[in-house]
């Protein structure tokens, strides 16, 4: 499919295709949405099946769910402090959604919904509005002091305030672009080297031998992509925590 007409077509994997026949086409239900539902289902299944037995000595599923729970719980309390515990469900849901999106996308024939800027920007905008609303609710008008550091000379305000404002507004952009760019870059690389395998494999006698080279690169890349999947979900969660910390403590 990728090597049709002997060209490298690395971007068609990100195309949205309606699923569920005419119903899906009518409401614009694409495979991206289907994978989101799948991820939510899998996360729920993991957590529900994990805590079902409540064994003293956890089994595999329980150990996995407890590990995720404790990991994010430590992250939130470590970054935001004790007041941050209220935001744990939000950060946990966000982390699991991004992580499962990244991981499911690595399976063959699957779609990576985190490779779409619309999805990641939506998530980042949620984080942005939540942190802003939390800061406004907790600190009221004092929140606007965030854009002007104490002790700076007043005549610098026309310069400092726009710069701080743009810096603050750039948070959701950098948050979303980081995740989106990492996922797109990884999947494009995988596709390009997979296409090399197909193209080189068709080169007569030496073809299959030469094709081993990109194939081994792809094996390494898949391992690397699993690392990136975890790392980017982690970065997304920790940056959310840092922003929440700024919102709660307002420095």
């Amino acid at each position: 499919m990728a090597a049709e007409g002997k060209t490298i077509d690395a971007l068609s994997q990100f195309e949205l295709i309606p699923v569920l026949g005419p119903v899906g086409r009518a409401v614009g239900f694409s495979q991206s949405n289907a994978h989101m539902l799948l991820a939510v289902g899998l996360v729920s299944l993991l957590m529900l099946a994990g805590i079902r037995k409540r064994a003293l000595v956890p089994g595999r599923l329980q150990a996995a769910s407890e590990m995720f729970y404790e990991f994010i719980e430590k992250l939130v309390t470590g970054q935001v402090g004790h007041e941050g515990r209220k935001y744990f469900p939000f950060v946990f849901a966000l982390f699991m959604f991004v992580l499962f999106g990244n991981l499911i996308g690595l399976l063959p024939y699957a779609f990576t919904y985190t490779s779409h800027i619309a999805v990641t920007l939506g998530l980042a905008a949620t984080v942005f509005f939540l942190t802003t609303i939390v800061a406004l609710a907790l600190h009221g008008k004092k929140f606007f002091g965030y854009f002007f550091p104490e002790g700076a000379p007043l005549w610098l305000a026309p310069i400092i305030v726009p710069v701080e404002l743009v810096s603050y507004l750039s948070r959701p952009v950098s948050l979303s672009v980081r995740l989106f760019a990492n996922m797109v870059a990884g999947h494009v690389l995988l596709k390009v080297f997979a296409t090399f395998v197909v193209l080189l494999g068709g080169l007569g006698m030496i073809g299959p031998v030469a094709a081993l080279l990109p194939l081994s690169v792809n094996v390494l890349l898949v391992g690397f992509e699993i690392l990136v999947a975890f790392l980017q979900a982690y970065v997304f969660a920790i940056l959310t925590c840092i922003y929440l910390h700024d919102a709660v403590h307002l420095h």
């Binding site: 430590k74 970054q79 743009v166 750039s170 952009v173 950098s174 700024d246 420095h251």
Partner: protein, 98 residues
């Protein structure tokens, strides 16, 4: 959950012996600090601040009908915000991170 027979203590000791527990000082959610991670993060911070500045300038210009001027101003502001983001990356606001 507390156990009667000090099971947690013994488990912790055993895990420490085997090196299974990450160092509590550094495991507590610091951002990844590899050269690639820092480099990529810095690049994204600069570009995103610049993009936001340019978009803001364009938007205000279209609204107020002052085409090139606010765009130029916010281009510079966006660049400055990008540099500020980089500065914050290495020197967070005082007390912003434990």
């Amino acid at each position: 959950m507390e156990h009667r027979d000090g099971f947690d203590d013994r488990l912790r000791q055993a895990r420490n012996r085997q090196g299974l527990d990450p160092d509590p000082a550094k495991g507590k959610g610091s951002l990844p600090t590899g050269p690639w991670g820092i480099g990529f993060r810095a690049g994204v911070e600069v570009v995103s601040a610049l993009v936001v500045g340019v978009a803001l300038g364009f938007g205000l210009d279209r609204w107020l009908g002052t085409f090139p001027w606010l765009f130029l101003v916010f281009f510079v502001v966006g660049g400055a915000a990008g540099v500020l983001n980089i500065y914050r990356l290495f020197n967070p606001r005082p007390g912003a991170r434990p």
